[in-house]
């Protein structure tokens, strides 16, 4: 599961911070916070590039491996969490993937706000291919196969049909 947050060093979409050197140098690159457990599972080291993929798209980020984020254990099932700061984009002094590329548009019934703080995702170690190669790559890695809501105590309903399962069982999502 991914969750998003803001950093003190940047302001929202970064329009007022990514263009200022004094703020940019404090957080100069997009990163994703992952737990040592997940890093081990994925085989990535601190500072390696990883790609975060959802149905909407994919971004790459540097893995910031830290005990500050921990997997949650629910009934014996482990749910890994990935922390993604907002703020980055393609312009400015420092650039990086926009976490918003990954989030879905949804509407809370009272105020039609989107759900930005929790979503399922897939993680692929390595860098994001550029150019046309991206299309093929994301088709391969987009989360598929798992049922919308995998109960911790139930076996996956229909895993045979879809593509590959996301590594480590974090991030199962339906695809309509």
């Amino acid at each position: 599961m991914l969750t998003t947050y803001r950093l003190t060093e940047h302001h929202t979409a970064g329009g007022m911070s990514r263009f200022l050197s004094h703020l940019s140098e404090l957080q100069p690159e997009m990163f994703a916070e992952i737990s040592p457990e997940l890093a081990r599972e994925l085989g990535v080291k601190n500072g390696d590039y990883i790609c975060i993929v959802t149905l909407r798209g994919a971004i790459e980020a540097r893995a910031l491996v830290s005990r500050r984020i921990r997997p949650v254990h629910l009934n014996g099932k482990t749910v890994h969490q990935v922390g993604l700061p907002y703020h980055f984009g393609t312009s400015g002094l420092v650039r990086g993937g926009a976490a918003n590329d990954l989030l879905s548009i949804s509407g809370e019934p009272n105020v039609t706000i989107m759900e930005a703080k929790a979503a399922a995702c897939n993680i692929v170690p390595g860098r994001l291919p550029r150019g046309a190669a991206f299309e093929e790559w994301i088709n391969k890695h987009v989360p598929t196969g798992g049922p919308a809501n995998l109960h911790p105590e139930q076996p996956p309903l229909d895993t045979a049909k879809g593509g590959e399962n996301p590594p480590g069982g974090h991030g199962k999502e339906e695809k309509e």
């Binding site: 050197s21 004094h22 100069p28 500072g47 540097r62 830290s66 500050r68 921990r70």
Partner: protein
């Protein structure tokens, strides 16, 4: 009673420069939130340029160390130890001997403005001076960039600014916002510190406050809280001192800093001995082998 203890200490104007009062910084990581406002305020006020956009992977710290273009630097220390009685997740519940403790400490580092300052002693041009308030100041227009202060600082604070940054070639470090202080203002970093982790004030007041704070923390379970103010070494105490949790090494602070001038005596003795030996050897050579 409501509203108690909410007065701030860093807001008032002062005339320390005019009255020649020794001042200092007391930096307390137990209230620091790692917002880096001090770093930014320092750079803004003093026109310090950025020194590169490099992501370090070292927690949230992407500035690394104090240097010519980083005069305040917030450290992000991640340790597998418990902080006070803090409960972190399911671990270290209740008692202090948690099986899997973790803590994250922020500490804003700065030039220490030593009582006996290595850089000041080393400076061959007189560019580095001591001010009325006891701080150590580099006069940018005098410094010719010989680089000797760089190796003479036991804390690795001062550095020569490389090209192509503005004002390259000179040695730079925290000025203690001497210009602000002359106008009765508090240094920029202390002024912006939202939680008063950086406290600016009279040195004697601050030392008393710091001692009291350490005591208070000990009472609240922070067993490893201590003051970092090396007064027993040749540095003779620092004007910007810190409260630290655990050992100074974890913060990149030297455990027993010495001002390099204490090495002069033995070094010069060796030098004179060598020189005299050389003269004697030469004279002997010519006397006996001509």
């Amino acid at each position: 009673m409501i509203g108690e203890g909410t007065k701030s200490t860093n807001q008032r104007r002062h005339s320390y420069v005019q009255e020649h009062v020794e001042v200092g910084f007391f930096t307390d990581p137990t209230v620091c939130i790692g917002c880096k406002a001090c770093e930014v305020a320092c750079k803004e006020w003093n026109h310090v340029p950025d020194d590169g956009f490099v992501w370090s992977g070292n927690s949230y710290d992407n500035t690394g160390h104090l240097g010519a273009s980083t005069w305040r630097h917030v450290m992000f220390v991640e340790q597998d130890r418990q902080k006070g009685n803090q409960i972190v997740g399911s671990h270290s519940l209740g008692n202090g001997d948690g099986e899997d403790p973790f803590r994250w400490i922020f500490l804003s580092d700065v030039c220490k403005h030593c009582e006996d300052a290595g850089c000041l002693e080393a400076c061959p041009t007189g560019a580095i001076v001591r001010t009325e308030v006891g701080s150590v100041l580099v006069q940018n227009d005098v410094c010719n960039g010989c680089g000797y202060c760089v190796v003479s600082c036991p804390f690795g604070v001062i550095d020569r600014r490389p090209k192509p940054l503005p004002d390259a070639g000179g040695a730079f470090k925290c000025t203690f916002c001497y210009d602000r202080q002359k106008s009765g203002l508090v240094p920029a970093c202390a002024k912006v510190c939202p939680t008063e982790s950086i406290v600016f004030g009279r040195l004697d007041d601050l030392r008393a406050r710091a001692t009291h704070r350490v005591q208070e923390l000990h009472e609240h379970g922070y067993d490893d809280a201590q003051l970092y103010d090396p007064r027993e070494t040749s540095v003779g105490g620092i004007h910007a001192f810190f409260l630290i949790l655990g050992e100074p090494e974890a913060y990149g602070l030297p455990p027993k800093p010495q001002v390099p001038t204490i090495y002069l005596k033995s070094a010069w003795t060796a030098a004179f001995a060598t020189a005299i030996a050389a003269i004697i050897a030469t004279l002997l050579a010519f006397a006996f082998f001509s």
